[in-house]
């Protein structure tokens, strides 16, 4: 990621994380942070994210469990013990990479990175 882009994103993430998050849905803990597609949650709302997550699970029924989604979302480099902010930044980097490499899906009409679509699905499961 280019430095300028990273700085811009970091500043944006700081603002996003500082929001009274997501209609009270996010807990801010590390587990929840994995399920939070920050850009989407920031621009639309938790209800839309849940609906999108539910649509994703219908479209990809093989991924219809919390464990499967966590397995697909997390790799060795995921900073699970570094706090929610680091986790959000990690997933945003992955999201941008997805867009750069064409790893995108259309869910409920949203053109999404596959990573953030899986986050929506996990979010939907956790909020159900």
């Amino acid at each position: 990621m280019k430095r300028r882009q990273f700085i811009g994103l970091s500043a944006y993430l700081a603002a996003a994380v500082a929001l009274p998050l997501l209609d009270g849905c996010a807990t801010g803990d590390n587990e929840s942070a994995v399920s939070e597609p920050v850009v989407l949650l920031h621009t639309v709302n938790a209800k839309s994210v849940i609906e999108t997550g539910q649509a994703y699970l219908k479209q990809f029924p093989d991924e219809n469990t919390k464990d499967k989604l966590r397995q697909l979302l997390l790799d060795k480099e995921a900073p699970l013990s570094s706090g929610a902010k680091a986790i959000h930044e990690y997933f945003n980097t992955k999201t941008v990479e997805d867009f750069n490499t064409g790893q995108t899906v259309i869910i409920n009409g949203w053109v999404l990175s596959h990573t953030e679509a899986r986050q929506c699905a996990l979010f939907a499961i956790l909020q159900s």
Partner: protein, 503 residues
């Protein structure tokens, strides 16, 4: 000078060097080119100087296929033509629009963009546009406060639009035309027939009629048909005394390939950071603005049509009716619903959420066509039967355009795109009720080098008829994304130069 054809002796013979049929954007642009020359120009207008219901009724059509606007409401049948109510949106066609694209059947013009460039520049003056500049960098330099979206131009680029005041040709050019000694403007002079010689190689004369019951003949060295894409085809098809198929129609091409632009709501943009997107907004008085367009390389890669996306705040756009729905059963348009949409605005998600409006070319399609109906109008001319037909390529292209923009917004962390319901299922080839055009008609006498595949030559001359030319958007081979007026005027100016060289 001006002559009312209702007030001259019946069956008069009118003679000149050039006969221009139609006084809309193309016809007047052509006539202006000949002011103060040694050529006597006969300019024929079917109507007068004001809109009249009886004249509009001559444009009533039978329509089948994809639902379409009522013709008699959207094309104006009096001096100045449809410039009397156009909105003035202008942009140039891209290089790729003129090229043969293997994924776009029947694409490929006999001329290139560079052939039109000098005429685009001249056309700018006629419709009072700004400098002939369509680079976003130029316009951003003029207004440094405006910020473009952070897009990769190799994928998505800012296609610039310029806006005519809009020039109303009737108001702007009436005096110049009427006062020109060598321009003879005849109003109430509807051409109902073009007569050629026996072997259909030369036009001898045209017949004009009016609702006052008078009929006259016009003879000239050169005839230019400039009645709009629909009426151009109608006139050739109806002129069938010497050739039962109609003039220029040996290969059954006249009237086929009718094209429109699809202009409709298609997606939403949700920005990650509030931005009024002023570089992309339009209101009366705006000189230039950008729309998002897909790069040539990406179009080639995805095998899609050329199109653009424009922006309207979502809290306005979501309440606006589809253009196709604003007309009543009598063909009367009602714009009040747009005012209501503005009033309903709640400023929710201000500067965050936008409605994206598509403007995309229609793929050339021989089954999308103008034909003659069995019913005749008050002057005895067969009415037009329009069959508008879309192809799956248009829908697939629309969907891909928003996928590309969506990916680019995501890559730049700018926001996210949401496709409207009708674009979500890639297997769904149906069109939603809101489907509509841009009131643009093109392609019914397409140009080309091969007479078996085109009606006119690269110089807009009807193949095989040495003194008959078509002016306007009926010559277009493909529709591109932009509104056609600028390009049709440029093409007309090019034709004017060609005719000057032949006289």
């Amino acid at each position: 000078m001006h002559i009312d054809a209702r007030n001259i002796e019946n069956n008069s013979l009118i003679e000149g060097d050039i006969c221009i049929i139609g006084s809309g954007a193309a016809g007047i642009s052509m006539a202006l080119e000949f002011i103060n020359t040694s050529h006597k120009v006969i300019l024929l207008e079917g109507g007068g100087f004001e809109q009249e219901a009886a004249m509009q009724e001559l444009y009533a059509t039978k329509q089948t296929g994809q639902r379409y606007f009522p013709f008699k409401a959207i094309r104006l049948h009096y001096f100045g033509g449809t410039t009397n109510h156009w909105s003035g949106f202008c942009s140039v066609f891209d290089e790729i629009d003129f090229e043969k694209r293997d994924w776009v059947p029947y694409s490929g013009w006999p001329i290139q963009r560079k052939d039109l460039d000098p005429f685009y520049e001249r056309a700018h003056k006629i419709i009072e546009l700004g400098p002939y500049e369509y680079e976003d960098t130029y316009w951003l330099k003029q207004q440094p406060a405006l910020k473009p979206l952070p897009i990769d131009k190799k994928v998505v680029w800012n296609k610039m639009w310029q806006f005519s005041p809009p020039t109303r040709f009737a108001k702007k050019y009436k005096d110049a035309i009427v006062n020109a000694k060598n321009i003879h403007l005849y109003t109430y002079a509807n051409v109902t027939d073009i007569q050629s010689n026996e072997n259909v190689s030369t036009v001898k004369e045209v017949t004009i009629k009016n609702l006052a019951g008078k009929s006259h003949r016009v003879r000239a060295k050169v005839f230019v048909v400039a009645c709009c894409a629909v009426q151009n085809a109608r006139l050739l098809l109806a002129s069938n005394k010497q050739n039962p198929k109609g003039l220029g129609n040996d290969n059954d091409l006249v009237g086929r390939f009718f094209m429109e632009h699809l202009e409709m709501k298609s997606a939403e943009l949700w920005l990650a950071k509030a931005d009024a997107l002023k570089f992309y907004m339009w209101s009366w008085g705006t000189k230039a603005r950008a729309e998002l367009a897909i790069s040539k390389a990406k179009q080639e890669e995805l095998k899609i049509l050329n199109g653009t996306a424009s922006f309207v705040p979502l809290d306005i756009g979501k309440n606006e009716p589809a253009w196709i729905d604003i007309y009543d059963e009598n063909g009367k348009g009602d714009l009040s619903k747009f005012d209501e949409a503005e009033k309903k605005r709640d400023f929710s998600n201000k500067d965050i959420a936008y409605q994206l409006m598509t403007r995309i070319e229609q793929s050339p399609n021989p089954n999308s066509r103008i034909m003659l109906d069995t019913e005749k109008d008050a002057l005895g001319m067969p009415r037009v039967h329009l069959h508008w037909e879309l192809m799956p390529l248009e829908k697939r292209s629309m969907r891909k355009i928003y996928e590309v923009i969506g990916k680019e917004m995501g890559r730049a962390s700018s926001g996210r795109i949401r496709l409207m319901e009708y674009l979500r299922d890639e297997k769904d080839e149906t069109w939603p009720a809101l489907t509509g055009g841009g009131w643009h008609h093109m392609g019914t006498t397409r140009m080309g080098l091969d007479p078996r595949q085109s009606v006119t030559t690269e110089n807009c001359q009807v193949h095989g008829i040495h003194n008959l030319y078509m002016a306007g958007s009926s010559n277009f081979v493909t529709a591109a994304a932009p509104n056609p007026t600028l390009t049709l005027i440029a093409l007309t100016l090019r034709l004017a130069d060609h005719i000057k060289g032949t006289l």
